[in-house]
Amino acid sequence: MDLRDTADEAAFRGELRSWIEENLPEELQGHRGGAARFEGEAMRGWSRALHEAGFAGLTWPTEYGGSGASYTHQAIFLEEMARAEAPPHVGVIGLGMAGPTIMAHGSEEQKARYLEPILSADEIWCQGFSEPGAGSDLAAVRTSARQKNGHFVVDGQKVWSSFAHLASFCILLTRSDPESTRHAGLTYLIVDMHAPGVDVRPLTQITGEAEFNEIFFDGVEVPAENLLGEIGGGWQVAMTTLLHERGTLGFALQAALAVQVRKLAALARDRGADPLQRDRIAREWIEVQALRFTNYRALSKLVKTGVPGPEGSISKLVWSEANQRVTKLALELLGPDAALAEENAPYGGYWQHQQLRSRGNTIEAGTSEVLRNIVAERVLGLPKSR
């Protein structure tokens, strides 16, 4: 047990910290998340700079253009990026989900075609999993893929798809066997978002911004070589994608929450806090430390044994609920000014925006209810509820 950085880790952290300082354009620093995190040419440029410096796809194997770095370096990278309030690489879905899935299940041709442009941010990816009738219950997907004349014809609707309005490609989970139910008969496809019959409609959310979209597929022809894995084997491929979604994500979340709590403390110093509010601020600071060291425990176990510890499964659950409390407490500290928005509000409406955006945290990437089921069944070994 040694909670300090090793010499190698400290060197990487130091090098990264100065690189970010020198390279992060001023207008991108202190990004407030939400829709602003992927719009504009500057974001593309920043992503390209990250790639050129070797920080995109840090843990990807070198044969696919990555840096082959350790999970520990990836964790340090995510911590330092959050600490500097630097926006992430715009290819979030490609780097974290589509890329690793293609590496695991793709053909050599697919790897050669798709991986490099993900790293360079030349091609952005989106995810087509959720449907109006298939949210937490992913095995209920109905978007169909019929085989016809050597290709697939896709019809259906996907929803809550971030980046779809910018994306070149979509990782799409379809039902290829109309007679099938549940996990069987699913097929995983790569779909060109510019193909005829693909229609993307932005969804305006509680913050007034549009971060995610509906995608409609109307007789979209998908070439046979865009199949990922086996026909009918889509569920196994989708599980690879979701496994990677939860990977080292915890570090980015915890580091972002640490920044949020730091800002909350600054707000309290700025505008004052009564003893009850001070107690809650202390609570949140303690909770961030707890989350941070829980992530470290899970990471250490992953590095030593190759298998992440069960502690890691609570990371997103804890983060999402903490972020909701922290942002709401900030509004309380603002007093009547909490009612103001945008340029009329203190700090440009930062906290109002953060608080509203945080309501999505307990829904996106696994609802808190589903995550509690996962803890109860897979970690505690309680009998399955369904």
């Binding site: 202390a282 829980t294 109860a376």
Partner: protein, 324 residues
Amino acid sequence: MDFTFTPEQDALREQARAFLAANPEPSWKELAELGWTGVSIAEEDGGAGLTFVEEAVLLEELGRALYRGPFFSTVAVTLPALPDDLRAEVAAGETSWTLAFGPLVPDLDTADRVAIVGGDGIYELEGAEREILSTTDETRPVGVVRGGDPGRRLADSGVLEEIRNRTLAALAIEACGVARRALEFGIEHASTREQFGKPIGVYQAVSHPLADAYTRLELARSLSLWAAWCVAENDEQAPIAAAAAKAFAAEAAVQVCETAIQVHGGIGFTWEHVLQRLYKRALWIESFSASSSTLRAEVAAALLDATPAASGFVQTPVSLTQGG
């Protein structure tokens, strides 16, 4: 960064769990023979020359087993004040100690000798009358001392900060041991007890509170081990880590026990079930030394005030940033 236990530390935990399962009420001499009383005492004084991390491993297991005896008061509390010759006696199992640093003195029924904080230092208290008080947690008696005279001067009051940090970190990790056992009872009961034709753990109204209990416990354990490591390394974050860990872990242990009692239904509320003992220990931990809200007030002062409150915190290490 490596936040795992060594194979030796894991082996120590297994040994402790097996021993305490077979010997629920070990004597001080027996603990000394196992090497537990001298874990962090130097080898030349008959100890093992290890650290507070190994002591934390033992404290977690002793909490789990609801051990009754002077381990906490001797090893976690008084040890930093003892000169080498007296440490050698502790390592040999010849004496145990407690420290009167508040009106209620822990383990006063079993500790052989009593130290007292007075003026500029810590002294042995001689010739005092002991009164053992009736307590809710019968496994962790406290008492008061009356009269007596200061005898040998043991240490300068400079060690009080270390004593404070060790005490808080020890209580935090002990709370984790208590909570772990309560959670195991809860899981076991929810998996086997059937109502409406199914094990009750199928119902999310039962399973989700248990998932939350697990979550609070793991967070508590992360903080407690961080605090233990800081104490072992004499890290500058030790004061705030120990305060944070005790504030969080004590409340978590109380919550986990309450969840386990609720999941058990009527049997969880009976004297016969061990849950009531675990619960009372968790409540004792929450109340002893400093309550969670008092500790959070200290954390808040360190975070928010230009000059730190008279809390014993070193201000500079209270870093809100990550890593480094």
